[in-house]
Amino acid sequence: MLNIPLKDHFRETRIFGSRLTIMAGFVVVVTLILLGRMLYLQVVHHKHYETRARANQISPVPVPPVRGLILDRNGIVLAQNYPAYTLEVIPEQVKDMDATLAQVGSLVTLSDNDQKLFHKQRRSRPRFESLPLRTNLTEEEAARIAINRPHLQGVELHARLQRHYPLGGLGIHLMGYVGRINEEEASVIDRTGKRADYRGTLHIGKLGIEQNYESLLLGHVGVERVETDARGRSLHVIEREAPKAGDDIYLNIDARMQAAAEQMLSGKRGAVVAMDPNSGAILTFASMPTYDPNPFVNGIDQESYDALLNNPDKPLINRALNGQYPPGSTIKPFMGLAALESGKIKANESVICRGVFRLAGEPRPYRDWKKTGHGKIDLHESIVQSCDIYYYQAAVKLGIDFIHEFLTGLGFGQSTGIDLKGESVGLVPSRQWRKARGENWYLGETVVTGIGQGPILTTPLQLANSVSILANGGRLMQPRLMYARENPVTRERHYSQFSYKQLFSEEHKPQLDAIVAAMTDVVHGEKGTARRIGWNAPYRIAGKTGTAQVKSIAVGEEYDAEKTAERERDHALFIAFAPVDNPRIAVAVIVENGGHGSSAAAPIARKLMDYYLLPETMPALNNATVVVSQPDE
C-alpha cells in the first residue's frame, strides 16, 4: 500500500492532469506543424521536388556522331572509322589520380606518351567529361579493365569510333588528318559557340580535306538521357536523341592516279597536280614524300614526330600547295601570250639567237641554255625550242609592270581558291613590290623574269591551274577537291559547283591558239624539248618543259649536272594538257633537283594523262602501289 494522504493525492492528480493536458496540446500542435510541413513538401512544392528527383537520376550523355567518310571519285575509301576500345577517365570522379593511373598501368600498358597526352588534355576539356587515356585496347586488355571496373572509380571503358586512313599516307597532303582537339582549338570552339557540337567528340580535322570540310564531316551530336545512381554509374537509357552522322565526302581525286603519281615520285621530292581544265576538278594532288597520318590521330609520340620534322626531305611540307618554285621555262607560254596580248610583239616577228643577250651599256651576259644559240627564232619556235634569248628581249620590251599585271591576271601570285586551307600564293614581282621593301628594281631582273627566274615563284597548283587557261579557251578555274557530299542515311547528294573567271573572249582565240600550237610542237615537233614523250602518244599533247635554277651560277661558269651536288641540281618542271583538240586533263609536275624537265618531269605527266585518257591502261590499286595500313597494329 502506498502511504499518500488523500487530500494530497487529489491535488497531485489535479496538477498532473493539467500538466498532462498542456503536454497533450503540445503534442497536437507539434504534430500539426509536422503535417503542415509534409503538406508543404508533398503537395505545395511537389512539382519542384519531383523535378529535382528526376534531375538527380537522369543525366544527359552526349553521343558523338559518326564522322563522314572520305572517298575518291570511284568510291575507294580514303578515311574511315572503326570501333575500338578506349579507356577513358573522368578526372573529377578520381580521388587520387596518380594511384588510379598506376593501377590502370598495372592492367594495361600505358606509355609515357599516353600519360603525357592525357595530362595535356585535362586542360582543354570541359569538366565532367571523360578523357581518353588509352586507345585501341586489345580484347584482353579490355576484359582486364572490365573485371577490375569496381575498383576503378572514374575509369570507363568505351567502344568508340576511331578515325583511320586505310591507304596510309596516300594523298596525305590533300587528305590531312584528324587529331585530338588541343587547347587552342578548344578555345576557338568555345568562342565560335560550337561547344555543344563537340560534346563527346575528341577529334577535329587538323589539315587538308579533314580540316577544310570539318563542319560537313563532323555531323550533329546526339543525346542519351541515362538514369544514373548516386555514384554516377549509368543504369539504363531512358530516351535517346540519335546523333546525325556527318556527310561522306567524295573527292575528284582518283586514288589510282594519285597512287601512280606518288609511286613515280617515290624516292624523290616533288609534286604533281592534275586537274580537269573544264571543271577545275583536281584529279591528282601529290606531294612527295608522304607520311602516315594514322599515328597523328591519337597523338604521335615526340620521337616519331621529331624524325619527320628533321627528315631532310621534309615530308611534312605540302609541296603541291605550299611549295613555291621559280617556274623556269614553264612561264614561257604565258610570257608569249603576254607578248601577243601586249601588241608589242607579233607572232611572226623573229629574233636572232646567238646564245647571249646583253642589256645596253651593261657588260653582264645573259646566256641561253644552248651555248651556240638557236639562230632565227619566232614566237612559235621560242616555245618549241625554249629559247631564252627571245624571252630576255620580250621581257625588256614588255616591261616588268605589264608582266606583273598580266601574270597576276592568269592567277600567278594569287590564291587559286582551292578547297584547302593555308594555300601559298607564290610571287609575281613588280616595281611596287620592290619599293615596298625599300629596294629598287633592276632591269636585269626583268630580263630573268622573262624565263621564269629571279624572284618569281609559283606553286605546282598554280601552274596546273594556269595551264588550264590555255586548255579551256581562257577560263581561270577555281580548283576543287570535293566532288560531292552525300548524306550517309538518305544518300542525298550535293555536287560541288564549279566556278571560273572568263579571262579571254572569243576575239583572243587566235593568240591562245598560237600558244597551244607551239606547246603542241614542244611534244610532237621535231625540235620539241619534250618530244621524247610525244612520239608514241596516241593523242596529242600540249606541254612545256622547265628547269628552275636552285643555285645561281656565277658569270661565265657553266652548269654541269654531273658535277653539281644532288641538292643543288635544278628543279625539273613540266606543264601540259591533252588531248589538244578537246583538252580533258591538265598537269603540272615538279621534281625537285630532278635536272631537266624533259627527262625527269614530262614522263610522269605523260603516264598520268595515259591513265586518265586511256582508262584501260590504269593500274588497279594494289600492294605494289599503296601500303595498306591495318587499324590494329
Binding site: L2, I4, D8, R11, E12, I15, F16, G17, R19, L20, M23, A24, V27, V30, T31, I33, L34, L35, R37, M38, L39, L41, Q42, V43, H45, H46, H48, Y49, E50, R52, A53, N56, Q57, E227, T228, D229, A230, R231, L235
Partner: protein, 364 residues
C-alpha cells in the same frame, strides 16, 4: 496444458498498445524491405531484434511498479558508472565513444540512461509529494545533468538532448511552478552562445547546414536536401511501395536508419504519412491515458515522461527528415532499422504496460 494456458493468461500486457506495436512492427518490415533495396536479411535481422525486444518488454511488464520505484536509484547509479567506464575504455564508433564491448555484445550505457534518468527523477520527486520543492527540483536537475553532460562528452549530442528532455518533462509534469519555468527558459536562452562555443566542429556544421542546406549541397547539406527531395517527390499518393528512386539509386543516405521516413514518405505520399502519424498519435494517446490513470505519483510521472519522450523521438526524426530540424542522429522510433535503441524503446513500453496492468481498484 492447463498450466501453460494459465501461464499465458497470466501474462500482463496492455492490449491496445500491444496491437499498435505489432502493426508498427509490420510497417517496419514493409518499409525496411524497400529501403534496403529488397534485402530480406535486413528485415530478418529487424525481426530478430524485435522479437528480443518484445520478450524484454513483456518481461518488464510483469514487474510490479513499486519494484521500479525501489530499484530506480540503483539502476541510475549503475548507468552512471557505465557512462564513466565508456569514456575510459569505450569502443570508438562513428567518431564517438558510445559502446562498451562485453565479449561480442555491445552495451550502450546512454541507452540505459534513457530509462534511468526519468526513473530516478520521478523517484526523487515523488518521494516528498507534489508539487516539488525548489530544493528537490535542484537536486533532480543535478541527477539529470550529470549523465547528460557525460553523454554529450562522448560526444552524442542528440541522445544527450533527448535524455535531458525526458528528465525535464518529469519535473514539468511534477508541477514545477510557472515562475521558475520562465526564469529557467530565459537563463537557457542567455546560455546559448556558451553552448555554441563548447560544440564540436561537426555539430556546428550540422547546425549551419540546417539553417542553409543549399550552402553546401554536396557536403553537410546533402542529407537534408536529398531527404527533402525524397519526401517532396512522393506527392500526395506516393510513388508506390518499392518505387523510391531516391533510396534505390543511392541518393538518400542512411535510408534504413535515420532517414527511413523519407523512403516511407516517397513511396506512400501524404496519405501514408497521415496514416503513420495517426499510429504515433494513437500510441502517444494511449501512453498519456495510462499516465493519467496511473495510481501513484511515480508511475504517473514516469509514464508521462516516457510517452512524451517517445513523441520527441518521433518529432525530432520527422523534423530532421523534412528539413525543419538539424540533422541529428535520431532514428524513427519503431520503424528504423536499429538495435539497442529499439530494445530501450520496447523496455519503456514494458514499463507502461506494467503500470497499466498492475492497477488495482482504489478504495475511495
Amino acid at each position: 496444458m492447463n498450466d501453460l494456458k494459465r501461464f499465458i493468461n497470466g501474462i500482463r500486457y496492455d492490449k491496445p498498445l500491444m496491437v499498435a506495436l505489432l502493426i508498427f512492427a509490420l510497417m517496419s518490415f514493409v518499409v525496411l524491405y524497400s529501403a534496403s533495396g529488397k534485402n530480406i536479411s535486413v528485415v530478418g535481422s529487424q525481426a530478430i531484434r524485435l522479437t528480443l525486444a518484445y520478450i524484454i518488454m513483456l518481461f518488464i511488464a510483469q514487474v510490479r511498479p513499486d519494484t521500479f520505484v525501489r530499484y530506480s536509484p540503483h539502476f541510475y547509479a549503475a548507468g552512471l558508472v557505465l557512462l564513466v567506464v565508456v569514456l575510459v575504455v569505450g569502443v570508438i564508433g562513428k567518431g564517438a565513444q558510445r559502446w562498451i564491448s562485453f565479449g561480442g555484445f555491445n552495451l550502450q550505457p546512454s541507452e540505459l540512461m534513457k530509462l534511468a534518468v526519468p526513473m530516478v527523477v520521478a523517484w526523487w520527486l515523488a518521494r516528498d509529494g507534489l508539487p516539488p520543492s525548489l530544493r528537490n527540483v535542484a537536486i533532480a536537475a543535478v541527477l539529470i545533468f550529470v549523465p547528460v553532460l557525460l553523454i554529450i562528452k562522448q560526444p552524442d549530442l542528440g541522445t544527450g538532448a533527448l535524455i535531458l528532455a525526458s528528465g525535464l518533462i518529469v519535473i514539468f509534469l511534477a508541477g514545477l511552478s510557472w515562475r521558475v519555468i520562465t526564469v529557467l527558459a530565459l537563463a537557457t536562452a542567455a546560455a546559448m552562445p556558451l553552448v555554441w562555443a563548447t560544440m564540436h566542429d561537426y555539430q556546428r556544421q550540422r547546425v549551419i547546414s540546417f539553417l542553409n542546406p543549399e550552402s553546401d549541397p554536396l557536403g553537410a547539406g546533402y542529407h537534408s536536401i536529398q531527404s527533402m527531395i525524397a519526401v517532396g517527390s512522393g506527392g500526395f499518393f506516393g510513388k508506390g511501395w518499392l518505387d523510391s528512386s531516391q533510396a534505390h539509386l543511392g541518393y538518400l543516405p542512411e535510408s534504413k536508419t535515420d532517414f527511413v521516413f523519407a523512403v516511407f514518405a516517397e513511396e506512400f505520399g501524404l496519405m501514408g504519412t497521415v496514416l503513420l502519424f495517426s499510429m504515433y498519435l494513437f500510441v502517444i494517446g494511449r501512453g498519456m491515458y495510462i499516465a493519467y490513470n496511473a495510481q501513484d505519483a511515480y508511475s504517473r510521472l514516469l509514464a508521462g515522461s516516457l510517452t512524451l519522450t517517445f513523441f520527441l523521438y518521433f518529432f525530432v526524426n520527422i523534423g530532421m527528415v523534412t528539413g525543419i530540424l538539424p540533422v541529428v542522429g535520431v532514428p524513427l522510433p519503431l520503424i528504423s532499422h536499429g538495435g539497442s535503441s529499439l530494445v530501450t524503446l520496447m523496455a519503456a513500453f514494458g514499463i507502461l504496460m506494467s503500470i497499466q496492468s498492475h492497477r488495482r481498484i482504489l478504495q475511495q
